[in-house]
């Protein structure tokens, strides 16, 4: 389990980009989605998530804006940019390659 955990954490940014490819989203929603897709086994720490957001933002792969929720704290939404879509494609093909190599090596 901890190996899966580490592997997943290593791909935090790709996971976020994949999520934002579908629609704009915010931290908790992304985490909820990860939890759902992994059948409630895995989710990211808030801290991990936010530092990935900042990195992606600095690289220009995503932008953020504030929602206008009526009450309580505002949500911070993230949207993918054109560069982000490009980066996502690259990371996917990168992953395909890695997967193939590791499959070969550990079969």
């Amino acid at each position: 389990m901890s190996m899966t955990s580490d592997m997943l954490r290593g791909h935090t940014e790709t996971i976020i980009l994949a999520h934002l490819m579908e629609h704009d989203s915010y931290g908790y929603q992304i985490n909820k989605d990860i939890l759902e897709k992994t059948n409630g086994i895995y989710e990211l720490k808030e801290a991990t998530l936010y530092s990935a957001f900042r990195r992606l933002e600095q690289m220009g792969n995503i932008t953020s804006y504030w929602g206008n929720e009526g009450s309580g704290a505002r949500r911070r939404y993230y949207a993918i940019t054109e560069e982000g879509k490009e980066a996502y494609k690259n990371q996917i093909s990168e992953w395909e390659k890695t997967k193939k190599i590791i499959d070969e090596l550990i079969k």
Partner: protein, 217 residues
């Protein structure tokens, strides 16, 4: 329990640098945590357990305070920057002194009065440029390394005390210069040259600041 959660998050950020980035981070964390909490409570999780789950899911907060996460530059090598700053300041102070020496030398050994003063002003111009450059190139350098909360606090209290001592010393220097200027000028009536004392005052101030800087280290 909601209030406790709010308080908990407030506390996490109590020592964070007061920047826009950290404020936004707090608001983001607050919104997400609240939503998670209410979802859990809706799923019939006991409030206390929901609180614990939310807290646990926040993770290691210190990484959020790291300066690169807050969009701030960190000086790569503190020691080197400090040494460089000290060197620049030392050069500037040296130039002020050389300027005065030059003026006196010209006055003593030649008959070109204005050459000495012009030379001195040139020295002062270069020295001042260096100081201005250093001030602009490393703005508030000291504040940049307050990544760790404790360090920041320590700096905050120490810095203020030192700063006020430094300021009083500077004030005293200028008071003394001003008083001496009038006393000596009236005594000798050599007004055409006594203004040099103000340049010496600048020197003295630069030296004092340099000493404080070195002491700081």
């Amino acid at each position: 329990m909601v209030d406790e959660l709010r308080k908990y998050i407030d506390n996490l950020f109590a020592d964070a640098p007061k920047t826009r980035a950290s404020y936004e981070l707090k608001e983001e964390l607050m919104a997400n945590s609240m939503e998670r909490y209410f979802d859990l409570v809706e799923d019939k999780v006991a409030e206390k357990d929901a609180f614990d789950i939310v807290i646990h899911s926040i993770g290691d907060v210190e990484q959020l305070f790291a300066p690169e996460e807050l969009g701030r530059e960190i000086p790569q090598k503190d020691e080197e920057v400090i040494k460089k700053l000290a060197l620049y300041r030392a050069i500037a102070v040296g130039l002020y002194i050389l300027g005065v020496v030059f003026a006196i030398a010209v006055d003593e050994f030649t008959s070109f009065d204005s050459v000495g003063i012009m030379g001195m002003l040139l020295f002062a111009a270069v020295a001042t440029s260096i100081l201005v450059y250093v001030g602009a190139a490393y703005p508030k350098y000291k504040r940049a390394d307050d990544t760790m909360v404790e360090e920041f606090k320590e700096w905050n209290s120490n810095g203020k005390k030192k700063k006020s001592v430094q300021n009083s010393v500077n004030t005293i220097i200028w008071m003394v210069v001003l008083v001496l200027y009038f006393v000596i000028s009236f005594a000798t009536m050599a007004w055409h040259i006594t203004w040099v004392m103000f340049l010496i005052g600048i020197c003295a101030q630069a030296i004092v600041n340099l000493l404080f800087q070195l002491n700081d280290k």
